[in-house]
Subunit: 438 residues, 2 copies
C-alpha cells in the first residue's frame, strides 16, 4: 500500500483537477445485436435465449429487482445518455460530463430492464453452473464486441472480458490470451461456482498464472446470488448480494493462491467495502494468533498475514463509496479503495457525479481523494495517467469544485487520530478510531 | 432498547458485584450415555452412529478443526473442570469460580474432540437436511437429558432445546410445547436449511407462533457450514462459519416474521457481533430509502425500519466479546449484546473469566457493563435477578475487580461523542464515531 502521506513525489497543487478513473462502468449491446459476434453454430440457441426474455423479466419483477414504473421514468428521462451503453461517441460525452477521464468496462449496460443482456445469461449473472459450451460462446461474443468498442479510445477504457472459469481449463486459459491480444484488460469470473470446483481448487492454478502473466486483474461483480432461496423478498436478496462476490476472496487467500501467484490481482466490484475492515481484522487475528510461538500452523500455505496480501494484490471497486466506508479507509487501506460511477446504472452517480463527489468527499484530504478517485485504479488497471492528464485538465473537477478546504494541513489534522490508529490490531490500539476529531 | 443512561431506576452502587449471566455455555453427555434417553426403536441406528465416530474425527482433523496435540493438552490440563460438561455439581463449582451466576445451555460440551456429541449429529452441527426421524429422535434424547440436567437449579440454567425445524410442522410445534413443559427455556434451530424451505417460508409461521407463545427465544449457533466446499482449508471455514448462523436473521426480518410475531425473540450465538452494525446500517438505509416519498414499497411486509425490530426482538449471544465489538456497542445497541463465557469450550473465557473480563471491560461504563454481562440476558431468557442476587454477591466480581474507575462520570464522558453519534445514520451524523475521546 502506498501511503499518500509518505509519498516523496511532489504533491499536485490544490488547483490541479482530479484524474478520475471509474473502476466500475458497464457497456453492452442491445441483446439481439450480439448475433454477428456469436459463432453461427449457436444462432439457434440464441433464438431460444431471446425467446425467454419475457419470462426472465417476469422473474425479476416478481422479486422486485425490476420495477415497471421506475423503468418507464428512467428510460424516458435518460434516453440519450443511455445510448452511451453501446455507442462509443455518446459514451465519451457522458464520461466527460461526469468528469471521468477513464473507466473499467463491465457487461450489462442496462440494469433496469436487461435489454443489453449478453447472450445466454453470461453478463453480471455469470454463474459457475452455466452450460460450458453456451457460456464460452456467449462470453466470447461479448468479449469480441467489447474489444471493438474500446479500440477507438484504448487510453480511456479498460474492457473486462467475461471468463466462465469453471469450464475446461485449457479453453479458459486460451480465452485469457485471446482477450488480452484483442485489447481487453481485465477478467470477470463468476461470484458463485455453484456445483463446480470452489476457487481453492488447484485445477485453477493455470488460470491464475495466465491472468498474472497477462497482467489482467481478476474480478467478481455483484449480481449473482442464490435467488431461488429468496421467495419474492427483495430485502433478502439485497442483504446478501454483496457477500457472494466477496466470498472468493477468502477462498483464494486461505488456499495460498496469492502466495503462489504474487502477480495475480483480485478485485471485488460493486459490493461496497464496508465489510472489508471486519474481514481483515478477523483474518489477521486468526493468522497471527495461530503463529504465536507454535511450530505448526494450520495456515502453512500463507507466508505472511492476510493484510499483506490485501495490500499487495487485492482491491475493491467500491463504486459509489458511502461516507461510512470513507470513515474506515485507514483500516481498508486508502489505495485499496477504487471509486466508480457505475455508469449507466441508476444506483450509480451518473449523471450527477460532480455533485455527488462534492457531497461525499468534501472533507477528505485531497491527496487521499486523488488516490481513491483515480490514481490507485490507474495502477491496478494499467491506465497511463500521463496520457490522461490533458483530458483531466479539461474535464476533471478540482478540489475546489468538490468543496475541499485549501487549508489541507487542517483537514489532515482532523483525521490524524483515525489515521494513526489505522488497523488498530496492528498498531497497538485496541479500539478502532473512526471519524474526524473536531 | 433500554438506554442505561436514561434509566430511572436507582443505579446500583459501584461496590455492588455484577450479576453475570453467560448467554452461551455448553453441556452434553458423553455420547454413548445418551442411550437411555433415546427411544428404544432407534438403538440400532444409534449403534451405527457410534460406529462412525472415528471417521468423523478424521474429517475434523483433516480440515484442521481438530488438533491432536492441542486436544491432549486440553484434556489433561482441565480433566476435572471438563466434567462440568455433564456433571451438575462440578458445573456449579466451575460457574462459581468464573463468577457466573446463571447460564444459557447449548449442546456439545466437548468442542475439541466431540466426545459429547448428541445422537445423530443434532448438536451444534444441527442441519436442515438432517433425516427427519433420526433428527427428532436425537434432539428429543438430548432435550430429555438436558431437562433433567437443569432441573436441580432451574434459577441458574436456561436449557436450549434442539429443534429440527425443517421437519414436519406439527411435530416441531409439539416438541416446542414438550420442551417448555419439561423446563427448557429456549430453542436452537439449524443455521442452514440446506435443501429444505428457507426460513421466510410461511410453513414456519406455526413454529414462530408457538415459540412466541411459550416465551422461548429461537436461536442459531455457529457450527454448521458447507464444509464440503472448503477442501482442507481451515481459514475458509473460520472466515465464514459466523455468516451462516447470522443469515436467518435477514430471512426472518425481510419476510415480515418479526412483524407477524411481535412476541418472537431471535438470537445468533457465538458468531460475534462485529458484523451487526454494518448489516443494520445497510438494511436501515435500504428500508428508509425506499420509503422516501414513494407510495409503494417493495418491503410492504415490514411496518417499521429494521433497527426497531432489532431492538424489540433480536439479540446476539456475543460470547467472548472483542474490544473492537465493544467500541461499536452504540451502533449495535448495548442491550442487544449478551456476553457469554462459552464454558467449557477452549475458545471461551473459562477458567479465567475474571481476568478476561478485567482485560476487556476495564474502561467500559459500569452501567453498560451490567447490561451486557447479565441484565440484558436475564430479560431475554427470563432469569429472575432477585433470586440470583444473593449468589452474585458471593461469587460475582465487582467493578473494582474489573479495574473499572470509581469516577464513572469521567468514564462516561470519554464515550460521550461515540454515544451521541450512536447509529449515525439515524442521528444526523454521517460518519460513525468510534473509540474513546482522550
Amino acid at each position: 500500500m502506498t501511503d499518500p502521506h509518505d509519498t516523496e513525489e511532489p504533491r499536485q497543487g490544490f488547483a490541479e483537477p482530479y484524474v478520475i478513473v471509474s473502476s466500475d462502468c458497464h457497456a453492452g449491446l442491445p441483446t439481439e445485436e450480439y448475433r454477428p459476434y456469436l459463432d453461427a453454430r449457436f444462432h439457434r440457441d440464441f433464438d431460444e435465449f431471446l425467446g425467454g426474455r419475457e419470462r426472465r423479466r417476469e422473474e425479476m419483477t416478481r422479486l422486485g429487482i425490476r420495477n415497471e414504473a421506475f423503468a418507464d421514468r428512467w428510460f424516458s428521462d435518460n434516453e440519450e445518455g443511455l445510448r452511451g451503453g453501446w455507442d462509443p461517441a455518446r459514451r465519451l460525452k457522458e464520461l466527460d460530463g461526469d468528469g471521468v477521464a477513464a473507466e473499467v468496462v463491465f457487461p450489462d449496460a442496462d440494469a433496469v430492464d436487461s435489454r443489453t443482456a449478453a447472450p445466454f445469461g453470461v453478463g453480471l449473472g455469470l454463474s459457475g453452473d452455466q452450460d460450458p459450451e453456451l457460456g464460452m460462446a456467449g462470453a466470447q461474443a461479448h468479449n469480441r464486441w467489447l474489444a471493438d468498442f474500446v479500440s477507438g479510445n484504448p487510453e480511456r477504457h479498460c474492457g473486462v472480458a467475461l471468463l466462465p472459469v469453471t469450464g475446461e481449463v485449457d479453453r479458459v486459459v486460451a480465452e485469457i490470451h485471446r482477450a488480452k491480444e484483442s485489447g481487453l484488460g481485465a477478467l470477470m469470473i463468476p461470484s458463485m461456482w455453484v456445483d463446480k470446483a470452489p476457487y481453492h481448487d488447484r485445477r485453477y492454478d493455470p488460470v491464475w498464472a495466465a491472468a498474472a502473466a497477462c497482467a489482467m486483474p481478476v474480478l467478481t461483480h455483484s449480481g449473482a446470488a442464490p435467488r431461488d432461496e429468496y421467495g419474492d423478498h427483495l430485502g433478502i436478496y439485497v442483504s446478501e448480494v454483496t457477500w457472494w462476490p466477496a466470498r472468493p476472496l477468502w477462498f483464494l487467500l486461505w488456499s495460498g493462491v496469492f502466495e503462489r501467484h504474487p502477480g495475480l490481482r483480485f478485485g471485488v466490484a460493486e459490493s461496497g467495502c464496508w465489510w472489508l475492515p471486519n474481514l481483515l481484522w478477523f483474518m489477521d487475528r486468526l493468522y497471527l494468533g495461530a503463529h504465536g510461538g507454535k511450530k505448526l500452523s494450520p495456515f502453512a500455505e500463507l507466508k505472511r498475514p492476510p493484510h499483506e496480501y490485501l495490500d499487495r494484490q487485492i482491491f475493491v471497486c467500491a463504486t459509489n463509496t458511502k461516507r461510512r466506508e470513507l470513515a474506515q479507509r485507514y483500516e481498508i487501506g486508502v489505495d485499496n479503495i477504487l471509486w466508480g460511477s457505475d455508469f449507466p446504472h441508476p444506483e450509480g452517480t451518473w449523471p450527477d457525479t460532480r455533485g455527488w463527489l462534492a457531497r461525499t468527499f468534501h472533507d477528505i484530504p485531497v491527496a487521499e481523494t486523488r488516490r481513491m478517485l483515480g490514481l490507485a485504479a490507474a495502477e491496478v488497471f494499467g491506465f497511463d495517467t500521463t496520457k490522461l492528464a490533458p483530458l483531466a485538465r479539461r474535464i476533471g473537477p478540482t478540489p475546489a469544485d468538490l468543496g475541499q478546504d485549501p487549508d489541507q494541513r487542517a483537514v489532515e489534522a482532523s483525521w490524524a487520530r483515525s489515521r494513526e490508529a489505522g488497523r488498530h490490531w496492528l498498531t497497538g490500539h485496541d479500539f478502532p478510531t473512526l471519524g474526524v476529531t473536531p
